[in-house]
Symmetry: C2
Subunit: 408 residues, 2 copies
Amino acid sequence: MTVWITRVDPVEPATGPLHGLTMALKDNIDLAGVPTTAGDPRNDQPAEHNAFVVDRLVEAGAVPLGKTNLDQYATGLVGTRSPYGACHSVFSELHVSGGSSSGSAVAVATGAVDFALGTDTAGSGRVPAAFNALVGIKPSRGLVSAQGVMPACRSLDCVTVMARTVGTARKVLDVMATFDPDDAWSRRASDLPRGRSTRTPGAAAVIGVPDLPLELDPLHEQAWQETLDQAHRLGEVVKVDVRPLLEAAELLYSGPWLAERWLAFGDKMVDDPAVDPTVRTIVRNGAGLTAAEAFAGFDRLATLARASESLWAQLDALLLPVTSTHPTLAAVAADPIGVNSQLGRFTNMVNLLDLCAVAFPGPARADGLPFGIQLLAPAGHDNVVIDLAAVWCGEPTRSSEVLLAVAG
Amino acid sequence: MTVWITRVDPVEPATGPLHGLTMALKDNIDLAGVPTTAGDPRNDQPAEHNAFVVDRLVEAGAVPLGKTNLDQYATGLVGTRSPYGACHSVFSELHVSGGSSSGSAVAVATGAVDFALGTDTAGSGRVPAAFNALVGIKPSRGLVSAQGVMPACRSLDCVTVMARTVGTARKVLDVMATFDPDDAWSRRASDLPRGRSTRTPGAAAVIGVPDLPLELDPLHEQAWQETLDQAHRLGEVVKVDVRPLLEAAELLYSGPWLAERWLAFGDKMVDDPAVDPTVRTIVRNGAGLTAAEAFAGFDRLATLARASESLWAQLDALLLPVTSTHPTLAAVAADPIGVNSQLGRFTNMVNLLDLCAVAFPGPARADGLPFGIQLLAPAGHDNVVIDLAAVWCGEPTRSSEVLLAVAG
């Protein structure tokens, strides 16, 4: 499989907190001197500058080793929509790697790099993490600059990090989360919405789990039940109504946001062998949407966000599977749009509802494939979900308030 | 002129902070038992319930006296776009009342009521206040519920209050600003963006004024220069670059938001004598906008919001005229779209950029017409701009921190 689209020679690392850590960059993130293809070989002009976040990471001592394969224009959750070829999970040649940050996930999972950057609009940083037993942090929207990142949905895109441990991913995020005044969608951490005001200092974390069956495939379901059995490790577990979240997830592709992709790269969606036909089919649907439909979608989203507020008032984090299944390459080839859209059921809503998330490995499935789980919380609570993921993974926490009772 | 579309018999007032104050309601705000025409007589079915905010005001002792004329579907800043007839300023039969909350302003200015509700998407609560020498508070977006208010641009609409004094308007706002969980666009005051963190407690307020000529008509210009001469009454005056704000103001009608009006009431915009032809012409333009154009507009707005951030970091409030001129009814009739769009130059951007504002009388023009000025600040700073307006008007303040040095 093609993990790398471009490789570069390692440079001498700078002194800094990431000194000598090697990194892979999803090929929609600019690295000066090499093309940013976004999975479309027609994009062959070298980038003039590093993306803002790449500059930060290099300054902190990280060493780029190259640019990785992806679902073209970051449109997909499978890792098969690329003229450079499909990626498979490191656990199975028959099963997809997940996408769109497919090559980045495989590069980390095989040990080729210490960490990798992806992007996550619908789940593109969490789904490939889940299918390769990695940690994937999807930071709060705007916490990481997207300057020098080719947009998919500019208002939703997030640069993410994948690593083999929570600790490495967090260390990288610390460097990435630098306010960029030149990115209009960048947000200062201090400007993010305020937290849950009702929690009692020192109390155990409250972890929500869905109060309805999730319709997972049987192997996923078994792993999910094991996860629920172990969820008390994170804190007090309460059942909550996640239907507004699941409905919001459907909005991402039934609502207006396809038009944002069309705005970003619709001009590329011509009949050409360099264009992935599935990506073309999907994104062309964005051309016909009206602005009135867009506003109707925003109004529906506002209603769903309001409906989900009571849930967040009760919880420190919500625990969900990352996906409902782990499809084979063959299943995706047979139904490229249908299978993909199933994969986003638990991830698509996270940016729409202004949440942050961390994906990490749950109990493996009975067939040995990994099973990814995720913790979600409102934007600004990145440290809470990261600390909880660390607890699950048996790694050190930053002993933020929410975890005193759990870790103590 | 037609100030009232429907009058109702006064009820016995409830006990409360507004006991016995009479109020007029713009006829896009539901009052149970009478139609909400929005200036279109075809909307003749009585409303079943009071708007959320009307219930709050009646509970607090206010007494509704009826529903007032408006630019149809709240689309206009002139007060002439109504099949019920045009309104003129109480200061001149030749000059427009301003709109779209035209009848509400006239009802207050003539003393027919103590206060009136309007709505303000582009300036509809501030322009008629300016043209009738009233105080008009345009609260932070979402601070007042819009449940039971006919939408113009649902994501931007704000219910406003007009009164003859800052004190009355503020007392009404105190009651109006009640969080409504059933309005998806309603926001808790505590969830509004945080304030300027750099100000020194007890220091004089910092008031921004534009560093460029504003191209006002000569009578307005003279009154504006007098305003600038007196601005030190509010605090330390600094010149700032307002170009990002003026460009954002142009976006309201050149950008995607016309489509939101089309979504709200486009189905009414048929060729019918009940439909104002200017409103029809404008709103029909919203039908042809694409969702991709909408996202391009949001991206441009995000860029302008970022560009204006440095301005707010320096200021407690920005002082601007409300309008650049006060047109005659004849001038509006001769060029109904062009004259109207000029009126929004200093008001259109306020909701787009998530600001709050108070309009209040500045020095009268040499011809005796009123000259309205306004103070703007980021959402959540309603009390700051209201207190500063009170200082200007020689009324008591709430002695919020920002005013200690000014009022002391």
